[in-house]
């Protein structure tokens, strides 16, 4: 009960504060600076009728999905290899750590030169934003495997290959899952920021257009949509992750 009521209360308090703040403003100022919630709802209905929202939404989701998938396909094997081969880790760890620490949006102009204004450049940016955290959490998972379990495995005569598949990989699953959730969050950030920077469609593109033309209510509609989508993607990922963390038997 509390678990449902408290977040609901938090959301309602946030909307009330927003509403209160906008009511403090004169109507014409409010329209530009902070439209009230009912105005935004009204605008939402209007936008969904007049704009090809499904197209924009589809573009953004496609970019996020492709960027994230590429980051997973590259990031998990890279992290596993780095954890397994110390020399490889020593060679590239510094590069990846500094890459992870910098704002990846600096690569957007380069991605536009390589891939143009359309979807591929956003996929590339989503990939670049998501991949380092997936590599580094996977690496942390491999490196932090309980040495006692490695000894048990060796004691039974396990080969390197058996050690990897029966101990290192399963022990790394919880950190990898955490890395996937963080990576998904970063992929969404990368794609939206990329669309804000330069695009022809997508939710970030819409936010940019509405901002540049002072259509604040419409812009807020899209911002809220981004928040809802991010939540709809990340909350189930958190659930899956929690299940892996506890080593619970599967609920079948």
């Amino acid at each position: 009960m509390r678990k449902t009521l408290l977040p609901l209360g938090g959301t309602l308090a946030f909307v009330a504060a927003w509403w209160g703040l906008s009511l403090l403003m004169a109507p014409d100022i409010r329209r530009l600076f902070l439209p009230a919630p009912p105005d935004v709802v009204k605008q939402a209905v209007h936008i969904f009728r007049t704009e090809p929202m499904a197209v924009h939404l589809g573009v953004t989701l496609e970019e996020v999905a492709a960027g994230f998938l590429a980051a997973v396909l590259v990031g998990i094997p890279a992290g596993l290899l780095m954890g397994w081969y110390r020399d490889l880790n020593a060679t590239v760890n510094g590069l990846i750590t500094s890459f992870n620490a910098m704002p990846r949006i600096v690569f957007m102009p380069l991605m536009m030169i390589w891939f143009g204004l359309g979807i591929p450049s956003k996929i590339a940016l989503g990939f670049l934003t998501a991949v380092p955290v997936i590599v580094l959490t996977t690496l942390a998972g491999v490196v932090s495997v309980d040495k006692a379990l490695v000894t048990v495995s060796r004691s039974f005569g396990a080969s390197n290959r058996q050690l990897f598949w029966t101990v290192v990989l399963p022990a790394s699953v919880p950190p990898i899952m955490a890395g996937l959730r963080l990576g998904m969050g970063f992929a969404i950030v990368g794609v939206i920021v990329g669309e804000l920077f330069a695009a022809r469609s997508g939710l970030g593109y819409l936010i940019n257009i509405y901002g540049n033309t002072f259509q604040t209510a419409s812009m807020l509609v899209v911002i809220i949509l981004v928040a809802l989508i991010a939540t709809a993607i990340l909350v189930p990922l958190q659930r899956i992750e929690d299940r892996f963390q506890r080593w619970r038997p599967p609920l079948t």
Binding site: V152, R154, S155, F156, Q162, R246, W247, R248
Partner: protein
């Protein structure tokens, strides 16, 4: 030279590790010699840090000796093998595997097919008294049960020699006594040769046919005591004068070593 009666022969075994300062060397074992006959239960006691665990790791083949050798049935040990299995001090169960799948682990590593591995694991579960807990995960069982799984996992591969590294040290006194009695029952049922490291003299005397006292580091065998308390033993033997005499004798011997540290 080859002794037909020896299951395990440890010959002039020496080992050391790099010390804390660069170039320094810590001598841990110094020419350890002993022989275990088939089915014999040998306990190793000695001051803490004297190298008992290193000795077990050498016999298991997890470490390579600096000098000397370990022979099982006359064959020199060069690495881990299915004729030996270790029961570790921390139960070290795989947290993502159920009790049953923890016990099948060694069999899977040795390439035993799934169905046979599971049948074997179920026998071991029966033997160590864990029936009904097959599908439990390690986080949900007690320390005593975890050590039963640890023991069953080692027994599952049907080793000839069981190496036990203070397996009951982390258990409370009552559980420890229960596990000691359990171990004797299982040993009686399986006839394994056991090398049992402990720092508890009482435990060593209760369990073993023979107690080897190791010196302080670098360890060597100082004293070998045959424990003639008859079999089967139950916990009441711990109250008899003979038992206490054995305990006293070994305690004096270990204490002299502890003073030197």
């Amino acid at each position: 030279m080859a002794d037909a009666q020896a299951k395990l022969r440890v010959e002039r075994l020496s080992h050391g590790f790099a010390g804390p300062e660069p170039g320094s060397h810590l001598r841990v074992l110094d020419s350890v010699d002993f022989v275990a006959s088939p089915g014999e239960f040998i306990a190793l006691v000695g001051p803490s840090g004297c190298g008992k665990s290193t000795l077990l790791n050498l016999v298991d083949g997890l470490l390579q000796p600096a000098a000397g050798r370990v022979l099982v049935d006359g064959r020199e040990v060069s690495g881990p093998g299915s004729d030996r299995a270790m029961v570790f001090q921390a139960a070290s169960l795989f947290p993502w595997r159920t009790v049953l799948r923890n016990i099948t682990y060694g069999l899977e590593i040795q390439g035993v097919d799934g169905g046979r591995a599971v049948r074997r694991a179920r026998e071991m579960i029966e033997l160590v008294g864990l029936k009904g807990f097959e599908q439990f995960y390690p986080y949900s069982i007690s320390g005593g049960m975890a050590q039963r799984v640890n023991l069953a996992r080692a027994l599952a591969v049907d080793p000839e020699i069981l190496l036990m590294d203070e397996p009951f040290a982390a258990l409370d006194a009552h559980t420890r006594e229960a596990m000691q009695a359990e171990l004797l029952r299982i040993w009686g049922a399986t006839g394994k040769t056991i090398l049992f490291v402990t720092h508890q003299i009482e435990e060593a005397v209760f369990l073993a046919d023979r107690v080897l006292v190791l010196t302080a580091r670098p360890a060597t065998v100082k004293l070998s005591v045959n424990v003639d308390l008859g079999r089967p033993r139950d916990l009441t033997v711990k109250r008899t004068p003979e038992f206490i005499r054995y305990e006293e004798c070994i305690w004096q011997s270990v204490r002299a070593e502890v003073r030197q540290i």
